[in-house]
Symmetry: C2
Subunit: 528 residues, 2 copies
Amino acid sequence: MAGTDATKQQSGGGAKQPKQPKQPKQQQSGGGGGKKKEVKKETGLGLTNKKADNFGEWYSEVVVNGEMIEYYDISGCYILRPWSMAIWEIMQAFFDPEIKKMKIKNCYFPVFVSSTVLEKEKDHIEGFAPEVAWVTRSGKSELEIPIAIRPTSETVMYPYYSKWIRGHRDLPLKLNQWCNVVRWEFSNPTPFIRSREFLWQEGHTAFATKEEADTEVLEILELYRRIYEEYLAVPVIKGKKSELEKFAGGLYTTSVEAFIPNTGRGIQGATSHCLGQNFAKMFDINYENEKGERAMVWQNSWAYSTRTIGVMVMVHGDDKGLVLPPKVASVQVIVIPVPYKDADTQGILDACSETVNALLEAGIRAESDSRDNYSPGWKYSQWEMKGVPLRIEIGPKDLANKQVRAVRRDSGAKIDIANAGLVEEIKKLLDNIQQNLFDVAKQKRDECIQVIHTWEEFIEALNQKKMILAPWADEKEVEEDVKARTKGETGAAKTLCSPFDQPELPEGTICFASGKPAKKWSYWGRSY
Amino acid sequence: MAGTDATKQQSGGGAKQPKQPKQPKQQQSGGGGGKKKEVKKETGLGLTNKKADNFGEWYSEVVVNGEMIEYYDISGCYILRPWSMAIWEIMQAFFDPEIKKMKIKNCYFPVFVSSTVLEKEKDHIEGFAPEVAWVTRSGKSELEIPIAIRPTSETVMYPYYSKWIRGHRDLPLKLNQWCNVVRWEFSNPTPFIRSREFLWQEGHTAFATKEEADTEVLEILELYRRIYEEYLAVPVIKGKKSELEKFAGGLYTTSVEAFIPNTGRGIQGATSHCLGQNFAKMFDINYENEKGERAMVWQNSWAYSTRTIGVMVMVHGDDKGLVLPPKVASVQVIVIPVPYKDADTQGILDACSETVNALLEAGIRAESDSRDNYSPGWKYSQWEMKGVPLRIEIGPKDLANKQVRAVRRDSGAKIDIANAGLVEEIKKLLDNIQQNLFDVAKQKRDECIQVIHTWEEFIEALNQKKMILAPWADEKEVEEDVKARTKGETGAAKTLCSPFDQPELPEGTICFASGKPAKKWSYWGRSY
């Protein structure tokens, strides 16, 4: 399917059994104050878990306290609050025009799929059957035939591709949809990372030639890399999945792979599959080519999901809360008045408004927080919790000096900036924060990469939560063997990908696991 | 709920039992040619039904042949093809920024709702219960408790509004989501107009005061009017629904009402409800006001759906196919080369490309159709079927005269336009087409409006498929009586709305149906 990535992974992830964190009520409402007394209700803003100590608990606490997620009364379902939805929309505003440039068109297929169609491709349904949600009743009537909710849309769409594609001039057929999908999993639901319903885009394309399909697979993968690296500031590795890990029913799967240093787990970021001609065979998608002969199409499918947001939180968040890269933050700069006793409060408030307006005019997403029932210190904490990249403080001294004080969320660094040239400085700072987040994340990720050659080195690196780069035989049986030998409470090790960027493989190099001649380098590790 | 409008209406609509029209296969693939032989396969493009003769059949044929809809193998579900999805996206690109200006934020709540929550508001669930789809099984396991798929999201969202709203500073809370909803109806499914799944936006807002809620209801309604009138070129009437027709559980409902002259039926275009404090009571949504007292919020909900597209098709379409208003057409101008024998074919093709590029640069959505296996005439028919507002033909004579020939889809008028000043002329023409579509639709609609005073006049006008403006007592019992007395094969008459723009009501005017003193003017008719 397009994107096993999004939620379908083996159980036992690093975010262990996230429970709804217990929180004082006033935290829930963000800026709103407590139930009983509104003024100066300044308790309970901090996180009770530390990222380094209890990663799973920290994660579920930070997505709730940062107001990205609200836990829902149906387990495994989550509410995407405006703070996370805005990030989704910003990524969409990048990706959607990019695929339109590639002449991919949006459409919408039904959320329902009949069992006969769903079960047509055997390998495919085998992967999804255990987690398909079935509608069996409407009102008080039993349906004659149960109807499935889409876990992905290959089987929903391809009968119609068969109908629409007749001749070579109907090709390529390139469609995409933005929608919700449902996978009713029972193990370890985790906000964004593994949820029973999630949002994604799924692209489904059909070509006359394998070459065109191959080209598109990589073009889309590059867009996924850009979402992670340029928008979310998360370094990823592009590569090809192993035979065991590829999309069942497809020809080959490419992915962008991220890594969470705290848990030592890889995480599939998004996938771009070449389906080859297997689905075309099953769904009879053929056409008359230029010579007047019948030929089968070559197909791709590709997807990224709201999982992207979870990866970003896991990579950048800290013990103060979320850390949002400026490019995806719906508020890039929060301006906070700091009126001391006897200060010119109105002058300070005016300076805050002027600053916000100047930034907005320059296309910077800025807001001021002039609530008078919270202290500046409490506001600092709250906006740090929400991960706003840059805070601007304006107090009497700043007013007098015609400057503002900027505080970076990523480094905590404080910089005084003169009002003249403010906008340019802020722009530079935001760019710098974006780059710094990526650089720091890359450095941390790179420090986790361990090149190994032997089984002993492999096990040692695995125990040290490394992302392991190893020479191997590229055989299904070997990967199955590694999985069996590393099975344990925290999940078995498996291949993450074979990177496109291959280190040199000297002749005679031996597979770390089988002792056979190595065919390529692959990343291995535990994963989400 | 936000928008009973979208699909929930009494049965017996004008599009009677739309069946999938039988079509020659080559029609399905649009530009692609037939299954057996590709070259010059030029048959079967026309519609087999006429709008005036078999409206229901005409409608289902035109949405399929115009490539907006593909019928799906689950009854009542339809595939939105790129041709209709683009219209949805254009409307979204207008509406979404408008509500963001109003500080309404997007979010996403789960598609699932537990039965206990769904059933909390009695009037509400009464309206929806018969058409709720229930998930009872995942994989091979029965769920412990069946879970509903949202028919609308009041009950999904409001428990969390209760949690998030604590103090007056949390107000207003203004959220919106773009999503799919499911209403498992069994009567007369019709593409766009009444389908088991549809796309919509649903806004849900909470305010401290009724005044703020009242103001927003009308602001949103004005945006809905603009979607219909400025984008879809469909005239609508703004007004208030009767007590019988208002959203059950709400305080009052406003709507924009369209009319389909061919069937003589009104159609609810979109609704903006003031929910009052009823849901707040049920879901315990209260806050501490500035005096330190508990107070209940005032709520609104509002929605428009893919139904909008169906209304547009019904109003503007003709016996040649769809007619798209330029503002929502994904292709506004189609450029077709007309190379006669011995003509300078390459020169003509080049002129087509240049024309398209010039239009694209000016922000006009233009494409050329240079397929060499179809005749110009066949292409004319196909793009007429798809409703492209303006066709440009370029032949040898045009090349020689440095001009193009433009043909309007709305009027069929042919205009020669010199290459110099082409872009400006085309812009003017598109504006003119947009205005003309609205004017013609308004004239046709207005011709159907009949002012009546007596029961006899009412019945006569109803039989003549009029949209009836009548003085009435504004009493639930009177409307119920009218419904009972007009019940029949084609559905009972009911109120459409009481227009905000009220004609004068002289003292002593009598209700057409009850003989009691009339309180207001209302529109009546059969409806979708």
